[in-house]
Amino acid sequence: MSADAGPGAVPAAERAAMESFVPSPATVKPAGAPPRSQDIATETAGDITVDNPRMCARGVDVFYAEKQAIVDVSLDIGQNEVLAMIGPSGCGKSTFLRCLNRMNDIIDVCRVTGRIELDGEDIYDRNVDVVQLRARVGMVFQKPNPFPKSIYDNVAYGPRIHGLASGRAELDDIVQSSLERAGLWSEVKDRLGESGTSLSGGQQQRLCIARAIAVSPEVILMDEPCSALDPIATARIEELIDELRRNYTIAIVTHSMQQAARVSQRTAYFHLGKLIEVGETNQIFTNPRHNLTEDYITGRFG
């Protein structure tokens, strides 16, 4: 980890704490060491760290009952970056995403081990309130899932439950600015009272994004946000993601490699629950280091 003090740099003490476990031999192998033959795929190609990480995952394993869905994944998500996670179906990329705001807690049989930090704090710590964590790490889902409420109430839902607005006027402001940032304001400003489910699919997904940013999260997780949308709606969401990057850290799971290439700065390739390779998006798509990554992005597999 280099020591340059960028705007998002971590305080020295925390960085030291982080460094104390980052280079653990199980996750990052010293350069030049021969690969162990039996579990070559656990060795992640490329650099899992970034200079100014917002979230750091180290040695994360996820089990659904007896079945292991994720094996020893370590990955940083940097400040103001879009991290794309790609890979064939069932490779664990969505599972990993859902670990980042503990959505897997809802599933009874799911067990997560390892360490995931948000700004240096272990989010699986006993003292962390999952409700507050999810307010800081928002989520947009694969299928648009607006609540059966008015457009206004959909966006105001989060600010209301977290008490973010002290009065009606302030709430109005939050709703308007969230809808504006999600690029939906001009389309719905005259019908805020209509049901959120009456919008088109692309509008619904932008409403869900507005709903997520209304609680001012630090990180936004997107689980295949465009998979249910047509190309035009997809293009709007992608533009939106690019704009949102200025204020938020974004992790996006996508099945579309073109989308990953268009919206992200870094890309992580998952395969059978393992993180195979991570690196600059440009490098992953032009010059992958791992042959599994190469097979996938060239369409020979998956």
Partner: protein, 462 residues
């Protein structure tokens, strides 16, 4: 040949026709160059032959049996001596009953004379002819059907289309049975109710404040004015239903929320069947419970607080009826809550909502139409419930809002009006039909609203 034997023979014939048709189609197919040359699968040809064999014969059998008695009776009457034929309708009916009893060897009310003996003999003979003729006709129809099938089966015969049309006809008939039964019930109640309104004006029934259906049998009888104001009954029904719903709606709903959202799989596996056992208890048993356990407890509790409580009270009946409705509401609401898509829950949790915020603000509003529908259905059950009220709320039709008084409901009055020994065209008995009609209208109205609410406000989840 008895008609049961005939039906069994026809069914056997039909089964035989199925195999024959199937074999025939296979034979035809082999000559034409394989089963692939057939338009439909061989079993469709079999089914079609079976239909040709069985359906006409069974229809004739049904029609024959339903008109047989009428026609035979008519023929027997035509043969009676003229002085008997000239009897008034009722006496002729009695005579015919005697003849039929004589035929079947039952006890006969009047003395048996030669004329009756002759008539009975004639009746027996006609019956014999009829059943023999029926057997011949039915079996020849069945045979003709099989022959028709044998002749008609060719590779080009669209057996599947015919069979599927026959299936559709069968389905239509089944639904018509249900519809016509409803219409029949409504009409029978309606005509009797119209007769009642010939005795008692509609407004006096709908708006009268006093219900005392005892009519005078003799002129000089005392206290039998016969007042048919139904308001106290509707008030009593409303009071008991309201008490029942105050208990059942919250408890049932909370139980459903717990079961659907909080309970883990093991608790659910035990608790849900237990709740449903509650729904399986016969209402008469709830009635014991209300009259023998709940009512005394309420009376003692009321007396210890210095209230006068009658031993049969609206509160006791309403309370137990509420218990009866809990599983009904919880089971329906549980299904509705489970039908709310998981994606809405995740969306809410993903915004940092707690479980209870999610339930209150997302899940219940999304499930509301279904819950309202369930509540309305529960109300119509409460209104129609009889047994608990008979046993625990008494028979006194009193216009009161005090739940500690004895009251009576529409259904209870229907029961008491019809189990009396009054003649059937007195206003007292006919009043039962007017009450039944009102009850029917109210519950129908509630059900229509329930269906409408459920349909209109159901969110379109895919």
């Amino acid at each position: 040949m008895s008609s049961l034997t005939l039906i069994i023979i026809l069914l056997a014939f039909t089964a035989f026709a199925f195999h024959l048709g199937k074999r025939r189609s296979l034979g035809v197919a082999t000559r034409a160059g394989g089963v692939r040359k057939l338009h439909s699968l061989p079993s469709y040809y079999g089914t079609l032959t079976a239909l040709w064999c069985g359906v006409p014969a069974l229809i004739v059998l049904g029609l024959w049996l339903s008109f047989e008695t009428t026609i035979i009776t008519w023929l027997v009457v035509a043969e009676l001596p003229p002085e008997l034929r000239g009897l008034p309708e009722e006496e002729l009916g009695l005579l015919l009953n005697d003849i039929k009893n004589l035929v079947s060897g039952n006890v006969v009310a009047s003395e048996v004379d030669a004329t009756m003996e002759r008539a009975a003999e004639h009746y027996r003979k006609l019956q014999g002819i009829s059943s023999a003729a029926l057997a011949v006709v039915a079996i020849s129809l069945a045979t003709a059907g099989v022959g028709n099938g044998w002749r008609m089966i060719r590779p080009g015969l669209r057996a599947r289309n015919h069979v599927e049309r026959a299936v559709m006809a069968f389905l239509i008939i089944s639904s018509l049975v249900a519809i016509f039964t409803t219409i029949g019930i409504v009409l029978s109640v309606l005509f009797e109710a119209i007769r009642f309104f010939g005795h008692v004006p509609f407004t006096a029934f709908m708006f009268g404040l006093e219900w005392s259906p005892q009519t005078a049998i003799r002129e000089d009888q005392v206290g039998s004015s016969g007042a048919f104001g139904a308001v106290p009954l509707f008030a009593g029904t409303l009071l008991i239903s309201a008490i029942a719903m105050t208990i059942a709606a919250p408890i049932g709903l909370f139980a459903a929320v717990y079961l659907a959202e909080y309970a883990d799989a093991r608790v659910r596996a035990v608790a849900k069947p237990l709740l449903e056992i509650l729904a399986g208890i016969p209402t008469v048993v709830y009635g014991f419970f209300a009259a023998l356990t709940v009512a005394p407890v309420i009376r003692n509790a009321g007396e210890s607080m210095g209230l006068s409580v009658s031993s049969e009270s609206a509160l006791a009946a309403g309370f137990v009826m509420g218990l009866m409705l809990i599983p009904f509401i919880s089971s329906l609401s549980d299904d509705v809550i489970n039908a709310v898509p998981q994606s809405l829950r995740e969306g809410s949790y993903g915004l940092g909502a707690t479980k209870s915020e999610t339930i209150r603000q997302v899940i219940l509003p999304a499930a509301l139409p279904g819950i309202v529908g369930g509540l309305l259905l529960a109300i119509s059950r409460a209104i129609g419930e009889t047994m608990i009220v008979v046993m625990a709320a008494g028979l006194t039709a009193r216009l009161t809002a005090n739940p500690l008084d004895a009251v009576s409901t529409v259904t209870v009055q229907i029961v008491t009006l019809l189990v009396g020994d009054q003649e059937f065209d007195s206003p007292k008995t006919l009043a039962a039909f007017a009450l039944g009609l009102m009850l029917f209208v109210v519950t129908l109205f509630l059900n229509v609203i329930a269906l409408h609410v459920v349909r209109k406000y159901r969110e379109q989840y895919d």
